[in-house]
């Protein structure tokens, strides 16, 4: 048995769509259960009063990372077949900042906007309409931004490759960052809660 299943032909295109649908439903479900259907909860992140977004996302990252590492290490998963988004450093940094600004202003990121809409939030609907309008504008203007869009190409790179250190060491470093981040986030939340208590009096 070897993964990724789709690339080894364990199931075809049609079944892969069903699998993707199920994974998507699961993803949405857990986002909702984490409270991410609410713009209040999401934006609290940017005021440091509730860092659940950071914790949930970082948990997901290290879970996937540890899973991929050990499955690859055991020979169950062919890591070289796992698709990596090619890196275009400059446009992706700018794009990330744009997404962040949109997140703060609109209260949702694309995924959570869908979750919000699924639970009947009007602001999520407005947010999604904005997202689609943005996609349309971007698509129409693409010839003008194409040069920037493909600037600073680095190919499909990973941190172990760039830094030329063993994969497992990067895994360990990210885990240390995560554990430190979780502890720090909890501390920040407590400090902010205290400030809130003090303020009204």
């Amino acid at each position: 048995m070897n993964a990724p299943f789709f690339k080894f032909g364990l199931f075809g295109e049609n079944v892969s769509l069903i699998v993707a649908f199920l994974i998507g439903i699961g993803f949405g479900f857990f986002l909702e259960r984490a409270g991410f259907g609410s713009a209040r909860k999401l934006t609290a992140q940017f005021y440091f009063t509730d860092l659940a977004v950071f914790k949930v996302m970082f948990s997901a990252i290290i879970t996937a990372m540890i899973g991929l590492f050990y499955l690859g290490w055991m020979g169950v998963l062919d890591l070289s077949l796992v698709y990596l988004t090619p890196t275009f450093m400059l446009p992706q940094v700018v794009g990330g900042l744009l997404l962040g600004v949109g997140f703060v202003v609109g209260g949702y990121c694309p995924g959570t906007a869908c979750v919000g809409l699924a639970t009947g939030k009007i602001d999520a609907l407005v947010n999604l309409l904005g997202i689609f309008a943005g996609i349309l504008v971007f698509g129409e203007l693409f010839p003008f931004v194409e040069a920037f869009y493909t600037a600073t190409p680095m190919g499909q790179v990973t941190l172990p490759q760039i830094m030329n250190i063993p994969y497992g060491v990067v895994v360990f470093a990210v885990i240390l960052m995560a554990v430190g981040g979780f502890a720090g986030a909890t501390r920040v939340e407590k400090a902010m809660a205290k400030r809130k208590e003090v303020q009204p009096s």
Partner: protein
């Protein structure tokens, strides 16, 4: 209090998994080697897959030890002469030879064909720091062991030759000073003896690298 404990347990579990990962080795065990043709073509076109004989000579003289030189010729040829510090490995034995994927590997054969094939083989297996000695042992002889001054040298060529003369002596070669560019040398200059050159330039590190492996 109990909630706090759960997070502590989680942190410890993560730490253990991470620590083990750091020493576990490569996660690419299940990898079926695939070649990214575009990436490979880019590497070949950019000629970043080569090491000049002069550069390699420089590394050896400086006593750099973060690279391995692999001689792909037969045992007999290897015994006759090899680049100081080189290890002998047959093309077929290369995947099991014990090279690691992150180290710098310089491959050479008599000309360039075998090293190019070995380069491709190792690249396809996911070795990242694989290089070919440009022109193989032939060019090593021409440029490092027996450098020749052109018939009507430019000042730059003369300076370059003066430098290569020293390098050549270091490796026990004979610089060809005859300035007989178009005159065919009738006698092949003698290959230097196998001993690692004992020069003041050679640090102890370079000495240690020489392995008399018969494999």
């Amino acid at each position: 209090m109990t909630r706090l404990k759960t997070t502590h347990y989680a942190a410890i579990l993560l730490g253990v998994l991470g620590l083990f990962a750091a020493f576990a080795g490569s996660p690419y065990q299940g990898t079926q080697y695939t070649i990214d043709a575009k990436e490979l073509a880019r590497v070949v076109e950019g000629e970043v897959d080569h090491v000049n004989p002069e550069t390699l000579a420089d590394w050896i003289i400086q006593g750099k030890s973060d690279f391995r030189v692999i001689d792909l010729r037969t045992e007999a040829e290897f015994a006759g002469y090899h680049i100081p510090g080189a290890e002998n490995a047959a093309l077929t034995a290369l995947p099991e030879y014990g090279l690691t994927k992150s180290e710098t590997i310089v491959l050479y054969s008599e000309g360039g064909i075998h090293s190019a094939q070995a380069w491709f083989l190792l690249k396809a297996k996911g070795y990242r720091g694989v290089y070919m000695l440009r022109g193989g042992l032939e060019e090593w002889k021409d440029r490092v062991l027996f450098p020749t001054l052109a018939a009507n040298p430019t000042p730059a060529q003369t300076v370059e030759f003066a430098k290569m003369k020293e390098v050549s002596k270091f490796f026990g070669g004979t610089p060809q000073t005859g300035a007989a560019g178009d005159q065919q040398p009738t006698v092949e200059p003698a290959m230097p003896k196998l001993e690692m050159p004992q020069s003041a330039l050679a640090p102890a590190g370079a000495q240690k690298k020489k392995k008399k492996e018969g494999c």
